[in-house]
Symmetry: C2
Subunit: 356 residues, 2 copies
Amino acid sequence: MGATIKDIAERLGVSVSTVSKGLNGGRDISEQLRQSILETAVEMGYENRRARKLDHRTVAIFVENMDYQTPGDFGYDIVLGFRQAAFSASWDVDLVPVSPAFQEENRYDTLMMEKSCKGGYFVGFSLEDPWMKELQTTTIPTALLDNRVDNPNVSYVGTDTEASIDSAISYLISLGHEKIAFLDGSTGSMISDDRMAAYLISLRKHHLPIEPNMAIYSYFTADAAHYHVPGLLELGATAILCGNDLIAQGVIDSCRAQGMRVPEDVSVIGFDDIPLAAELTPPLTTIRQDRSALGKSGFFALYSIMNGTSISKTLLRAELVVRESTATAKPRLVTKRNVDTDCVLCKNPLLYERYA
Amino acid sequence: MGATIKDIAERLGVSVSTVSKGLNGGRDISEQLRQSILETAVEMGYENRRARKLDHRTVAIFVENMDYQTPGDFGYDIVLGFRQAAFSASWDVDLVPVSPAFQEENRYDTLMMEKSCKGGYFVGFSLEDPWMKELQTTTIPTALLDNRVDNPNVSYVGTDTEASIDSAISYLISLGHEKIAFLDGSTGSMISDDRMAAYLISLRKHHLPIEPNMAIYSYFTADAAHYHVPGLLELGATAILCGNDLIAQGVIDSCRAQGMRVPEDVSVIGFDDIPLAAELTPPLTTIRQDRSALGKSGFFALYSIMNGTSISKTLLRAELVVRESTATAKPRLVTKRNVDTDCVLCKNPLLYERYA
């Protein structure tokens, strides 16, 4: 931390006066260079002392349940993107890691007032967190990653799940797959429910039948796969779409344990594109969440609310990154008839009502 | 057009030097005052000569099928909001009214290059417009009001229809209504389909039955109501939600022609909150689209794409404005049994698959 203008100039190979112009809104450099100076400054920990002095232009980012300190951590690029967008608009950022206990001890509105913070971005929270209740009535401009609260001062930021899952399914169909299973994360998480709904909507759209026991909730861990993969293979699945990359890692291991090759016998697709994804054997085809963009959009959403525009939702595009875990479908004999007893739709009345 | 700094100072009751600071990014005025100076400057037609000179910081807003020149016109506040957001970020705006013929004669990408425009916001376009096809492959950052195109350079801006229709239905339910009809605009418009889907989802959520012939596509005109209102009343509807304010105006007239009082016998809710809505007898309860925010968000979406963040969708909150066309439900005898032949769901296979 604590880079100087000279450090930034050296990293970018430009003069100190160019960096200074970029940081201070000088006019005779290109917009692109200015952007790159600002982003590098934030990345290197340059502190914009001016912003904090002025009229308390400070926003906070609250992080829970998520590593963020080291490049590669899921939260790292989110926090960096948020800082970069704030810095470009001459706002300063307070980074505040929080626990449920911290939330019990501090009211959100009071804390923000004490800190003279004008807005907050919540990252990694679950609906059970103590502050979630406060968000229903808060008057502080707030953005929330991957969770929804019905309050005009609170804005939802997330990924366009429906479009991204559909791009993965469309790709599998183009490879000849028709038996596409979905192994999702935990039931009751908003993210899992959105991904499950998106899977069901996409199958409908492509006129593929929704098969009971091919759409499964499990847990967001690699272990979860071992309980479910043998059943999916018996049912004839030629492709398994996963609720995140860890589940996909487990699925690849389980397939191998069952004597199946990935991608020759079974195609596997993950979700997120964590750094591990490219390191797996085979490297994982996955839906990439743009975490830097999720960070920047958090700031834009806050900025809009602070300026009187209540954005309900900002949804970002996720890109399908095709690596080596997917290939042309190789149909397999169904060794077990599907039965209706354990169907995910039967267990989730809301999904059942909407999609069955 | 052509206001001076002095005109702006007089309108706001501040000094010329304060306005000058606001316009030129001076630091010792509050963020709120700065915002209000910038917005007033745009509203009064002050021209920011500096922006255009610099590095071609120009974006375009293309308007079709929509009046926008006079305060009160549907497009007026959209264009103004777009200009205000652009101006605040030191961007200049080209306003370009377009017709289908104009689109046939000019390729979009070429036109933007000729104008040195860095991004375009499309307002009032339909999916049949000639430029829509170009948008599927354009590399120009583009935002699109109320229409979706699957291209990472094209961003959707619109209202959160599901949340806003649900707030209207929740309000009617709190007044005791259970037979809530929906008289929508034309079939095949993305907006109509979204509003119809939101109506069906909301009824499901509140465990109200979806009744055939209570969910009707018509046209976005007042006349459309006369064909449908008698049937809805015979079926026992105590409330009629409408696809826009013009339809609602027709519904109020039709109810009266049938000897029914609004709101004593039938509650009516519109959509949009055009200036006419408050002038009707009775003044119309309606879902207000924040048109200024739709304009500003168009610029923010463009700005994000220009800076490398591909926002798929920006959805704004719409507010339910309660006036005098809604009241406690007064149940009525059903004089005609509902039959299944003319059901909207049967006519729209996509909706049928998803919601029936």
